[in-house]
């Protein structure tokens, strides 16, 4: 029988500490939608997504009601469109925007808030359809509301595709310009990856990888507020081992709920149950912040000395607690430290206590390190490429996923503020180094994979 204190603990976590399931994401293989014309692909994609995705939102709502826990976002991820479009985009100048529009319509029809997969895998090289996708990216993401894109430009086995990194610098600038009237919000829907996970349920970087089943449910858990509350109860006298143990216990409980929701959703929809992503994902809501956890652990202000160590402790404890709680862990499974989506993180950036360089360092111990970072609109594409390249190198050498979601807000200068609204929050424009990376990127080519890749 369930004990009173267990009932009360669950109620407190949900009602006072913002415990929720951050996302239930239905991964859909679109490979059977391939065709030789863009219009046919768009029609096929729309028809299939409407068919397989119709039950997603009602199913999640029923689970929310029964378990009494909010499922904040219902989403879909699809086969990378750069792959799907191979037969219809033999010419790199083919406009793939109609496919993005079809994805957007399907997302709206199914009631999902974001759909990920307008993506290309170019960590070693480009196909003509990859070129077409990247050429279409600014227009496609500006013309759609719910479609997210991601591009894999590096992997441990392939090294860093420097041409792709530079290309992304330009794509991001063009996308910012195409959405200039809303401070470059289009860039909030685009992530650049090294070692891209194929089963990530979180946006904007979700794709349905080529090794996945036809239809898969993946779940992303959340709960920074719950972890923060537990650390508050623990108090400042506990040593760091005790801090880790406390976080592990909370992570276990959070993840058990995630695993339950994943099982229920997959079973009710009759699809494969995929993974639970053990990421602490903050929101702009007060009390739902990863920066707050770092400060509760003991750093005076997130971004100060000790932040990387505190974050490594947090990420590690979340994984250890979570791994015990679910049969299948996957996705990104590392804390997110987005600036604009985490109100305290944004405050520390505005105070100048959190810099881009520190975020880059913290990338080495979490998943998406440079996330929702707003920089001045006049930042050159080569400087964006330099920032991305640094983060990619960390991922390649350490054999881990790293990612960049950066927004050069048109017309804004360091110290200004932009408001994106909703989960994307608002962000201060962070200053960027003025040292040029142009000569480096003019060389082009690839950075070869490290010897750690030679494991066979």
């Amino acid at each position: 029988m369930i004990r009173d204190e267990e009932v009360l603990e669950t109620l407190r976590m949900v009602s006072l500490e913002n415990l929720d399931i951050r996302c239930v994401t239905l991964g859909v293989s679109l490979l059977d939608c391939a065709a030789t014309s863009v219009e046919t692909v768009a029609d096929n994609v729309y028809a299939k997504l409407c068919r397989v995705g119709a039950d997603l939102v009602p199913t999640c709502q029923a689970i929310e009601r029964e378990l009494g826990i909010p499922i904040v976002n219902k989403r879909m991820s699809v086969t990378p469109i750069g792959v799907l479009a191979a037969a219809c985009a033999r010419d790199p100048n083919t406009d793939l925007t109609p496919i993005a529009v079809a994805l957007d319509r399907a997302a709206r029809q199914c009631g999902v808030d974001f759909l990920g997969g307008f993506s290309a895998l170019v960590h070693k090289g480009f196909t003509p359809s990859d070129h077409a996708l990247l050429n279409s990216m600014p227009k496609a993401l500006a013309a759609t509301e719910r479609v997210c894109g991601s591009v894999s430009v590096a992997s441990r086995q392939a090294g860093v595709n420097v041409d792709a990194v530079l290309r992304m610098g330009h794509v991001i600038k063009d996308l910012a310009a195409a959405t200039a009237d809303s401070d470059g919000i289009g860039c909030a829907k685009l992530v650049v990856f090294s070692n891209i996970p194929e089963d990530n349920p979180f946006m904007a970087g979700a794709i349905h990888g080529l090794g996945e089943a036809e239809l898969v449910i993946n779940v992303g858990v959340s709960g920074p507020g719950t972890v923060a509350a537990a650390l508050q109860d623990l108090g400042p006298e506990a040593d760091l081992l005790q801090v880790g143990e406390t976080i592990k216990r909370v992570a276990f409980k959070i993840t058990r709920v995630g695993a339950l929701v994943a099982r229920e959703a997959a079973q009710r929809m009759g699809v494969t149950c995929g993974i639970v992503d053990l990421s602490l994902a903050p929101t702009p809501a007060v009390g739902d912040s990863v920066a707050e956890i770092l400060e509760l652990i003991g750093v005076d202000a997130a971004g100060g000395p000790g932040s990387t160590m505190a974050l490594s402790l947090l990420t590690d404890a979340v994984k250890k607690g979570g791994a015990m709680a679910t049969a299948a862990v996957g996705g990104l499974s590392g804390a997110f430290i987005p600036v604009s989506e985490d109100s305290l993180m944004d405050k520390r950036a505005a105070e100048g206590k959190l810099t881009i360089e520190k975020l880059e360092a913290m990338t080495s111990v979490c998943s998406v390190g440079l996330d929702m970072v707003v920089v001045p609109g006049d930042t050159p594409a080569t400087t964006l490429a330099g920032i991305i390249g640094d983060v990619m190198a960390i991922g390649v050498v350490n054999g881990k996923t790293t990612a960049v979601r950066i927004i050069p807000a048109p017309g804004k200068a360091a110290g200004d503020t932009v408001h994106f609204g909703g989960l994307l929050g608002s962000g201060c424009v962070m200053p960027v180094s003025t040292v040029s990376a142009e000569r480096l990127f003019r060389r082009g080519g690839r950075v070869a994979p490290p010897t750690q890749a030679l494991v066979n």
């Binding site: 029988m1 369930i2 004990r3 009173d4 267990e6 009932v7 009360l8 603990e9 669950t10 109620l11 029923a62 009601r65 029964e66 378990l67 009494g68 826990i69 409980k253 058990r256 709920v257 695993a259 339950l260 229920e264």
Partner: protein
């Protein structure tokens, strides 16, 4: 004659490599059933025919009971006369069966947790909405959740 089928019978059947034949009147223990499913030993019911219709056959028992589903109903608010009757009355009216209750009053505040069996509840959503509708802002609040979330969080 009625026979009790135990783990030893399952092990013997495994060793013989043949399915285990049991009569319709025989009783197969839970431990034996669990072992049979773990070892992959098939249990075949023979001689089903004139058995007493009112009693479940071995075949039915082997199919297992439907899962016993429960809801956890929690209510917190200002104490006043009749509050418990109001809640239990509504639970009963909606088809729920109160199996356990824990209730206390601390400095004028009332808190109660009910474990409610759902055998006779047709639709969980109707049950939940019907009870949560009792919530009155400033008076008390009712939350209905399926037992599964508590088992997931607090039981390994």
């Amino acid at each position: 004659m009625k026979r009790i089928v135990t783990r030893e019978d399952i092990e013997a059947a495994r060793d013989s490599g043949r399915p285990l034949a049991v009569g319709s009147e025989d009783v197969v223990t839970q431990a034996a059933r669990d072992l049979a499913s773990r070892l992959g030993v098939r249990i075949e019911v023979v001689g089903v025919g004139e058995a007493d219709a009112s009693r479940p056959t071995v075949g039915e028992v082997l199919a297992g009971d439907p899962p016993h589903e429960r809801a956890v109903v929690s209510a917190v608010g200002r104490n006043r006369r009749g509050i418990l009757a109001e809640l239990t009355g509504q639970i009963s009216a909606l088809g729920g069966n109160v199996e356990d209750i824990s209730q206390r009053i601390v400095s004028g505040y009332f808190s109660a947790i009910f474990m409610v069996g759902l055998e006779e509840v047709d639709e969980f959503a109707t049950f939940k909405n019907g009870l949560e509708a009792l919530s009155v802002p400033g008076d008390y609040k009712v939350v209905v959740q399926h037992e599964r979330i508590f088992q997931a969080m607090h039981r390994i």
